[in-house]
């Protein structure tokens, strides 16, 4: 009697890459806009970035149906928070909420690989990186998704504090300026697009700073 196997999967991977970089007083969150399934492209123009609160922006890659449900859930919780506390949720608070929400479905997870970026209560940039079941950590920069294995080593090279003699190596909030960080993000996506078939078409870049939110798009290779 051999084990019964399911002949369908509740999950699909729609691909794509997400990146976030925290600066001294800004945060850059970026994701490509390609949505795929298998070896096909579903659309070249799908945003993986969602503004959850004034100072918290989520970029997620993975199974977009799960991600849509997750974003809606978080948005509803944020509304309730605003009614009860008369203010917006801070980024660290949203980070904890996201972690709890993901772990809630520990035994039927959201197939979502998340990067949460924003400004903390002191106005400094913060980035939180997650796995599918809610384990999270505050970091200076992160990449998730199909291109993450190509992107992360490059970000380590550029942003991790240089001295390998000083352990543990800290990836502190980068001293780069906002414009330099945006440039780095563009470079990173262009490189990832070259070798990852699921990354391409366009990159959507969201910049959060004291003045508010700014959005930029840049074309990428469409093959």
């Amino acid at each position: 009697m051999s084990k019964q196997q399911a002949n369908w999967s509740p999950y699909d991977n729609n691909g794509g890459s997400c990146v976030a970089i925290a600066g001294r007083d800004y945060c850059v969150i970026a994701a490509d806009t390609r949505m795929s399934t298998g070896y096909s492209i579903l659309t070249r123009d799908y945003s993986k970035i969602s503004k959850l609160a004034d100072k918290a922006v989520l970029a997620s890659s993975g199974f977009q149906a799960d991600i849509k449900a997750l974003q809606k859930h978080l948005a509803a919780r944020h509304l309730i928070y605003q009614h009860q506390h008369n203010k917006q949720m801070s980024c660290p608070a949203m980070a904890q909420l996201l972690s709890n929400t993901l772990y809630y479905k520990r035994f039927f997870p959201y197939y979502a690989f998340n990067v949460l970026g924003g400004l903390d209560n002191e106005g400094k940039g913060c980035v939180f990186t997650y796995d599918a079941v809610g384990s999270y950590e505050r970091v200076g920069y992160s990449a998730q998704g199909s291109g993450s294995t190509l992107i992360m080593p490059f970000l380590d090279n550029q942003l991790k504090t240089p001295s390998p003699l000083l352990l543990p190596a800290q990836d502190a909030v980068t001293p780069l300026s906002e414009l330099e960080a945006v440039d780095l993000v563009k470079t990173v996506f262009v490189s990832a697009t070259e070798r990852d078939i699921y990354t391409g078409d366009k990159v959507e870049i969201v910049i959060l700073n004291a003045e508010g939110l700014r959005r930029e798009f840049m074309d990428l290779r469409k093959d």
């Binding site: 809606k72 859930h73 509803a76 509304l79 309730i80 009614h83």
Partner: protein, 273 residues
């Protein structure tokens, strides 16, 4: 109203076909401080009197934002009102989650009314002791509803509830025909004047009243004290179009007998109006 042998349980009918506990709940609404609402084609304004119990305490919150397109003002047992507002907010959030569109006001008030009705037909519950003025905007336009503890609800062009609300109602009755085409600012002005009517001579100041607006292109929000004070100053300077306080009080006495707290033997029970 006087005590009688049919008023102990909400599930006991009187021989005249009345539920006294429900009527007593509506009395509780009349004891609360005044709240008024009025609407035009495109805007709805809610205003209420905020009297603190004593100088040292803060005042009760009586106007609640339910969603971007709906707000509510309460009079009566404010704790009941707070709980009902939480219910309304939850309904709006759930509806928006499921249907990706704002909950129509008419649906919300029906749900609220059904919730209130349940409490009039369970021996282990008591009716909610709060009247709600629900102001909202949806595809069919701007709406103002009044929800009773009895489970009834009505749509109004303008209405006032709570203590000394008759004075405000008299003012609104004279002016309501103009409201439909009023501008937003005129509507707010009328709301403030109506509130002033309920104060019976006391000076209207922004620290004893709260005003909230919802309209086309304007999500529900409570006006801040500074803005309200500026509006009060603006129309006081222009010169008041006064219903003299005396006239308002006389009409109030007459109408109280006929309409509001009908004594046990007279006419239709209040909740049937």
């Amino acid at each position: 109203m006087f005590r009688n042998q049919y008023d102990t349980d909400v599930t006991t009918w009187s021989p005249a076909g009345r539920l006294f506990q429900v009527e007593y709940a509506m009395e509780a609404v009349k004891q609360g401080s005044a709240a008024i609402g009025l609407r035009s084609r495109t805007h709805v304004v809610l205003a209420c009197v905020n009297k603190a119990n004593n100088e040292l305490s803060s005042h009760q919150k009586k106007i609640f934002k339910v969603d971007d397109h709906i707000g509510v003002a309460i009079a009566g047992l404010t704790a009941d009102g707070r709980v009902l507002s939480r219910y309304m907010r939850s309904e709006c959030v759930n509806h928006a989650f499921t249907y990706e569109s704002p909950l129509p006001v008419g649906r919300l008030v029906v749900q609220l009314a059904d919730k209130a009705q349940v409490c009039t037909q369970r021996s282990w519950k008591r009716p909610y002791g709060v009247g709600l003025l629900v102001a909202g905007l949806d595809e069919s336009g701007a709406h103002l509803y009044y929800n009773c503890p009895s489970g009834n609800y009505f749509e109004y062009q303008a209405f006032a509830i709570g203590s000394r609300s008759q004075a405000a109602k008299t003012y609104l009755e004279r002016r309501f025909e103009n409201f439909m085409d009023s501008s937003r600012d005129d509507l707010v002005k009328d709301a403030l004047i109506a509130i002033r009517e309920t104060l019976q001579g006391e000076t209207l100041k922004s620290n004893i009243c709260t005003v909230a607006v919802v309209g086309v292109g304007e999500p529900f929000h409570i006006l801040d004290q500074k803005t309200v004070q500026q509006l009060i100053d603006a129309f006081e300077i222009v010169g008041e179009e006064e219903p003299p306080a005396a006239e308002a009080e006389d009409t109030a006495d007459q109408e109280t007998a006929a309409g509001e707290g009908a004594p046990a033997e007279e006419g239709a029970a209040p909740m049937d109006i």
